[in-house]
């Protein structure tokens, strides 16, 4: 069974946020508003954070793109009282929207702020995709067209692309990748099977210094960063 992971090269990343926007475009993630940003209620499946240190003129800002980490030991799964979030065999952590009771315990537990809550119903937009689930098995975590008010949502590693790709016999990581990986103009992102030593992700990790976010919490994130 594959273990899907993502490698993000911070040296190649240009901080353009194409990943942030293309994720919203791919997954019908709603946009926010000034009020929602002030009250931290904007929904992002993928965000970018800035960490600045130093004093003029010796300043450094690190821009870090952050999807869901799809941790190997996901705290969100542990705490969910309704078993609405769980980890697939291939390591992708998914959300069952119908089981979610909106308690937001998972949001508290996630050390990465990867999860967002639907405080209001999402407005339908002309540019949204309307895909139907391919079969009954994918029904429960199927995110399209939109999620309902009262549930938590987050990055899915675009499992809809992966599952469809596998069905069509395509190579995941080269022919099929999540939307953010595809959209990155500087080619800073790679996706693939961490357990396959031939995969580009494994090769990158073998050749460069890398780190994960908040490693001390032992969540074992599967989004790994290559240092600058």
């Amino acid at each position: 069974m594959a273990k899907w992971g993502m490698v993000i090269d911070l040296d190649k990343c240009v901080g353009c946020q194409a990943c942030v926007v293309s994720c919203k475009e791919e997954n019908n993630v709603p946009h926010g508003s000034p009020e929602e940003q002030r009250s931290r209620r904007e929904i992002y499946w993928h965000k970018m954070i800035a960490a600045t240190k130093g004093k003029y003129p010796y300043v450094r800002t690190e821009l870090i793109p952050m999807p869901c980490m799809h941790c190997e030991h996901p705290p969100c799964v542990t705490v969910c009282p309704a078993k609405a979030t769980f980890q697939r065999d291939d390591g992708i952590v998914v959300q069952y929207y119908r089981r979610c009771i909106g308690c937001k315990y998972c949001m508290v537990a996630c050390p990465y702020g990867a999860r967002s809550f639907n405080y209001k119903a999402q407005e339908p937009k002309a540019y949204q995709r309307q895909d139907e689930p391919p079969d009954r098995n994918s029904w429960a975590p199927w995110p399209f067209p939109v999620r309902t008010q009262g549930v938590v949502e987050k990055c899915t590693f675009c499992f809809h692309r992966i599952d469809q790709g596998l069905k069509e016999g395509k190579k995941i990581g080269t022919e099929v990748v999540p939307a953010c990986v595809e959209a990155c103009p500087s080619h800073a992102r790679t996706f693939g099977d961490l357990d396959d030593p031939q995969s580009p992700v494994a090769q990158l990790l073998a050749s460069r210094a890398s780190f994960r976010l908040r490693e001390e919490l032992a969540t074992r994130p599967k989004v790994i960063y290559l240092s600058r």
């Binding site: 901080g15 926007v21 926010g32 508003s33 800035a50 540019y127 008010q149 800073a188």
Partner: protein, 783 residues
């Protein structure tokens, strides 16, 4: 019963049966659309919905969609894109892999195009002003009218101008338009007989182009080879945010850093710790406006240490001895250190690195050249590239090839047009005030206010928004009031449209025919198609078709000029690209690529008197001689630094205003796009605002804290925003991002942020007509 409930549930947005959802039942939807139809007359602008309640299940699934090749126009890069259309809606945008310039990649603005297309507040029909008074904040009270009515009124006035032999009283304004629309516009202006077609170029990088022209005769921004460049030195160029073509820089950055054997070193020299600086190897803060001094100091070091490319300099340049003298005599690092604030050691080190690493590129940015004297700054920077042999070589500067479009028949001037062209142009380009300029955008409001050289009777603006994007927006507002009849053509009500008598709704680039090419690009020529991916929204029409429509109805030279060039926007595109590739192939692929770039064309690439690269500008000398005694003052013809002249006294206005263009607003006319707004400033981690960033020490000395509400006041006005205390700002400046502070329309942009252009004064680089953006001084105090 079950089937009907399913239908209602789906239309009401339920993703699964029984889930809570938005409440729009089918019955309600039908009611609402009927009511919406009734409300058109009352409100004046029919707000279109950007929702899709009527899409049947499965129709808009991506599996059933098709990809259409076209090109973006959110900024001047005009990148090739493909758009997925499903259920008659555009639902996804990707880059076009056939395009060489960015290797098929696009920036986030490309994706945000979906919100541009489906902007709920687009204009859907022609509008007529019913409030006679014009001014900022005065509601025009638009009344929708038919296209026939609108065209009739416009044509009537155009005909009157021609009948009275006053075609020059027509002013045409052009903002960001496709190349095909630009070509049609200039054809219209030519045939009509008006010398007054003014683009926004005068606000952009004319000084950069003039500096290049002084050296090698190319009045253009340089193209860069990039794949093999080993050293990048940015002089105030925000490479990853606003240096066109942006998507090219984004792709090539990845290549330069980690996809070649040696990692390219990048150094960013500018007063602000930009996003580019954060990704570069070094950020070197510099006193604003002193880039020419730094460039000359680098020349000093490179020459003194004999690091320059001896063979190129000897064989293919002239004037080196004079240049060398100037650099060695006047620009020692110790001297320049006092001017720029950069330690002499750093200047020596960077110059040494630049001189020893081949190929190296020095890149001018707006922050360096949009100053009085900016042409010489651009010249000085361009000379650095020549010094190290980076001209027309792999990894160096390229001369952008133009596409060989099929030639249109020459415009035959009728006697009315000839009369018009005898008149001087409103922007005074090429006159003694602006001798080398091709367009002086910001002279226009002055000319309009003074009524000189003659008053304007009618103006038409195509996607122009100069009272938002030009310095001294207030002057533009006063000037626009003086135009008796102004027609605005755009998809939305911009700040400029608010002064219009008539508004024509034009299509966005998603709904029209066109051809586009970026300059600069990748060196080799490339043309990208624009074709409709969806039907025009509302009653909008493409600018190309509007021009053909007008031309048919203005008899004489104009009608003649628009015969035999394709008959319509689509026909024109087909005509012009017929020399490049078969139409069917162009429709499918979306891109035509010219022959591979040829390097080292030295015998024929320099358009100068000596046919070589000139460190002393023969082109400029020739221009001076041509203008003869009409040139105002002795104009130096070598690169140099001159002392800065400020607008505002240093004592009263202690800080320098430093506006900048983030990626998400660079080159746009509207910011009514929530996807762009919410992530606006990634370095500061905020959206929906435009803060004034000041250095922490400066803040302390002014007793200002983070998030304090402040006024930023110049001699010309004041704006209000919040402070952001930052370590990444030179102590003598205050940085404000551009693109916010909209006042005309937009739920997602109106009243958000502030517009620094409101307080910037009018000043120019005299040679090029470039508007200066950075020499206005301000004071900042608590509101």
């Amino acid at each position: 019963m079950g089937a009907k409930r399913d239908m209602d549930d789906h239309l009401s947005g339920a993703d699964e049966k029984g889930g809570r959802c938005s409440r729009l039942s089918r019955r309600k939807f039908l009611k609402l659309t009927a009511m919406a139809g009734l409300s058109v007359g009352a409100i004046g602008i029919h707000k279109q919905s950007d929702s899709a309640p009527s899409v049947q299940p499965g129709d808009a699934s991506t599996a059933k969609g098709r990809w259409i090749s076209t090109s973006c126009l959110n900024c001047p890069a005009r990148c090739g894109i493909t758009v997925k259309v499903a259920g008659e809606k555009a639902i996804q945008i990707k880059g076009n892999r056939s395009s060489l310039i960015s290797e098929g990649e696009i920036c986030p603005r490309g994706h945000i195009g979906l919100q541009v297309l489906y902007d709920p507040e687009r204009i859907l029909s022609p509008l007529k002003r019913s409030q006679p008074e014009k001014g900022k904040g005065i509601a025009p009270q638009w009344k929708p009218i038919s296209w026939d009515q609108a065209i009739e009124e416009i044509v009537g006035k155009l005909r009157t101008l021609r009948d009275t032999f006053q075609p020059h009283h027509l002013l045409l304004l052009s903002g960001l338009n496709s190349r095909s629309n630009e070509d049609l516009l200039s054809r219209f202006a030519e045939a009509f007989g008006t010398p007054n077609l003014v683009s926004g170029d005068g606000l952009d990088r004319e000084a950069e182009k003039t500096g290049n022209w002084m050296a090698d005769g190319h009045f253009d921004a340089c193209a860069y080879d990039l794949d093999q460049t080993n050293y990048l030195l940015s002089f105030g160029a925000d490479l990853l945010e606003s240096t066109p073509p942006v998507a090219r820089w984004l792709r090539k950055w990845g290549r330069l850093r980690r996809e070649k054997p040696t990692r390219t070193k990048v150094v960013d020299v500018q007063p602000r710790y930009s996003l580019t600086a954060s990704k570069s190897d070094e950020w070197i803060p510099i006193k604003p406006g002193t880039d020419a001094a730094l460039a000359m100091a680098m020349a000093h070091v490179i020459i003194r240490e004999e690091l320059f490319d001896h063979s190129f300099v000897k064989e293919w340049t002239v004037g080196f001895d004079q240049y060398r003298q100037i650099a060695l005599q006047h620009y020692a690092p110790e001297t320049v250190s006092k001017i720029t604030g950069i330690p002499a050691e750093t200047i020596r080190r960077i110059a040494g690195e630049f001189g020893r690493t081949r190929p190296a590129l020095a890149i001018p940015g707006k922050g360096a050249i949009a100053w009085p004297g900016g042409s010489y700054t651009s010249y000085a920077i361009h000379c650095l590239n020549a010094l190290v042999g980076s001209i027309d070589v792999p990894g160096g500067i390229l001369y952008q090839e133009s596409p060989g479009y099929r030639a249109v028949p020459n415009v035959a001037y009728d006697e009315i047009a000839r009369k018009g062209f005898e008149q001087p142009s409103l922007d005074l380009h090429g006159t003694e005030g602006f001798p080398a300029a091709q367009v002086v955008t910001n002279q226009v409001p002055r000319s309009l206010l003074e009524g000189k050289p003659y008053p304007i009777k009618m103006a038409i603006g195509f996607n122009s928004n100069f009272n938002m994007t030009a310095p001294a927006t207030g002057q533009w507002e006063e000037a626009l009031k003086k135009i008796p009849f102004y027609v605005h053509v755009a998809p939305f009500i911009s700040e400029m449209a608010e002064f219009a008598d008539l508004v024509l709704p034009s299509t966005t680039f998603f709904e029209e025919w066109g051809y586009d090419h970026s300059s600069p690009g990748a060196g080799s020529a490339e043309v990208r198609i624009k074709q409709p991916v969806v039907q025009p929204i509302g009653d909008s029409k493409s600018i190309g078709d509007i021009l053909f429509h007008l031309a048919e109805r203005v008899p004489g030279g104009v009608t003649k000029a628009f015969k035999d060039v394709g008959g319509s926007a689509e026909g024109f595109v087909r005509f012009r690209t017929s020399s490049l590739l078969p139409w069917e192939e162009f429709l499918k692929k979306g891109v035509w690529k010219g022959p591979a770039y040829e390097y080292g064309k030295y015998p024929r690439i320099f358009h100068t008197p000596s046919k070589k690269f000139e460190f002393v500008s023969g082109n400029l000398r020739a221009l001076q001689i041509k203008k003869g005694r009409s040139v105002k003052e002795e104009i130096p013809s070598s690169p140099h630094y001159s002392d800065l002249k400020w607008l505002g006294e240093e004592g009263q206005y202690p800080l320098v205003l430093f506006p900048y263009q983030p990626l998400l607003t660079f080159g746009n006319g509207s910011q009514n796009y929530p996807w762009a707004q919410e992530i606006f400033l990634p370095l500061q981690g905020v959206g929906w605002v435009s803060p004034a960033e000041i250095n922490s020490e400066t803040a302390r000395s002014l007793n200002l804290r983070d998030r304090d509400e402040v006024w930023i006041e110049s001699p010309f006005g004041k704006i209000r925003t919040r402070v952001k205390v930052s370590e990444g700002v030179h102590p003598g400046i205050v940085c404000i991002p551009c693109g916010q502070g909209h006042t005309s329309y937009g739920k997602w942009q109106k009243g958000i942020g502030c517009n620094p252009n409101e307080v910037i004064g009018i000043d120019f680089d005299v040679l090029s007509g470039q508007s200066a953006f950075f020499n206005t001084r301000v004071k900042i105090y608590k509101a």
